[in-house]
Symmetry: C2
Subunit: 336 residues, 2 copies
Amino acid sequence: MDIMTGKQSIQFPEAPHILCSASVVGKKEGEGPLGNQFDLICEDPMFGEDSWEKAESTMQAEAAQTALGKAGLLPSQIRYIFAGDLLGQLIATSFGVESLDIPVFGLYGACSTCGEALSLAAMTVSAGYADHVLAMTSSHFGGAEKQFRFPLEYGNQRPLSATWTVTGSGAFVLSRTGGHARITGVTTGKVVDYGVKDSLNMGACMAPAAADTIYQNFMDFNRQPEDYDRIITGDLGYVGQTILIDLLKEKGFDITKQHMDCGIEIYDRETQDTHAGGSGCGCSAVTLSALILPKLAKGSLKRVLFVPTGALLSTISFNEGQSVPGIAHGVVMEHC
Amino acid sequence: MDIMTGKQSIQFPEAPHILCSASVVGKKEGEGPLGNQFDLICEDPMFGEDSWEKAESTMQAEAAQTALGKAGLLPSQIRYIFAGDLLGQLIATSFGVESLDIPVFGLYGACSTCGEALSLAAMTVSAGYADHVLAMTSSHFGGAEKQFRFPLEYGNQRPLSATWTVTGSGAFVLSRTGGHARITGVTTGKVVDYGVKDSLNMGACMAPAAADTIYQNFMDFNRQPEDYDRIITGDLGYVGQTILIDLLKEKGFDITKQHMDCGIEIYDRETQDTHAGGSGCGCSAVTLSALILPKLAKGSLKRVLFVPTGALLSTISFNEGQSVPGIAHGVVMEHC
């Protein structure tokens, strides 16, 4: 199979390894179903800082240091960081990675950024541009609400279609060898815009992009849903999940059995009152690190398609009446 | 020489070619010293749209289509877009590339994004992940002032250290063959923070990052300033240029003879009242396309180090009293 596979995928001749990863989350995430699987749960939503934004930077720095610690690597052994967050001009990342003194590629793909970071990191290691790289994303409930909707103090009501931004950061060390999971291919997403304008229904904004990328992945690799043990979207939540499954059925694929969504996994629907599920750059990252990679490492999952989903929303474009386009980046991971 | 060169550089075994490029600018840029070299000058600052942000998206779409037209390529022949802008959540890019229907990696490195886009695009083509990719950035004076400082209607006074955000977009088609300039290496920058907090003195915020990347490029490639015909920063302007030259002198390198700054080249200091020079994601992009690449193609420049410079500023971090860190990405381009 060619390196350039199909219309928008890459099959790596030398698949990079996910050497190790780390997840750092807030209190609410720690109280959820994955609570005992995260590396670090911080009870203080400010992470000891005096603003939500600084808290998120601290969370990123903690995630990076924890991942490096597990890998037994010093920051100086990491050649590049691929990282991003949801805040305007990526301030969580800029201030979060500053002290690591590592060359950095700043990325933005809304909540799909984890897929974008893992894709570019894998491309970089596989091409021989680096021995070790770090891929990392984060989000923070307080910072995201302030950025995109209303400050928490305002106490606005949330419709049932709304998702809850995960306070969390996931970091991944990709290397030429080591670990028990590899990235064997990627399918890079396009901007997909069905004209949805509801900033409190991110699932509906992103589902068409997820469907587009998953469908393209099937085409490019000549695969069926059954070729994956799980097809894992980032943060579609319950609303987006329904739309995604419908859209793919229209294209002739039924992923009901394989589909899993990080936004659905991370909170308990009955007790945690998060409405449609979790979301944010950190949602798919911490769920990948805490729930999925351990299963890939054990071999209870052999091959998954990981598809973080992003809603390309900004308050400026929203207030000017524009739609919320979506994007989703697919990453194929296999047990090794 | 190894692919991984020194601490933070790559030397491409198969250097990708810059097949062609395009520049689209606004009225003020068209009245400047490079006026007759741009591909398209739009007299209407709104580019026929009803907001600055939509204007910027239209400008990106125009730049992309112009570059593709020169290359004789259809959008479907471009495998990936690497693009970004200065607006929160990259809305100029999201809406600008939507209609092209090409897989996209969204990037943010403030005004260094052009260097980040060219670096990742070059890495992608050289590794065999794509035959043709598009690297693109943009900025718009109206949108940037609204985003970072004051709305134009407020009519605030600007200090002499302030730069003027360029209304412009540059697009570059990178391919395995063709054209008369190649990207032979890249030096990826780190976040460098000297603690400067003045959002109206971007030159001072970015100069330390530029010095760091240029110094590292000299170390990694074992080069001296004389090994480059020009060392071209993105938008340091007059204030940043002085600081950069001083910082590199402290490290033992005098780049006075080689240094050139896109922010200084693009406006006329005497007649255009832009104070410290031009800035923005579009500044280095359109200057590279209109002024530098033609000289590389003719061979009047043989080898240049192109170093777009970014100030990692957001109104949120600024209002919370944080500093403005800088980042700069180096791209080595040679005549071929």
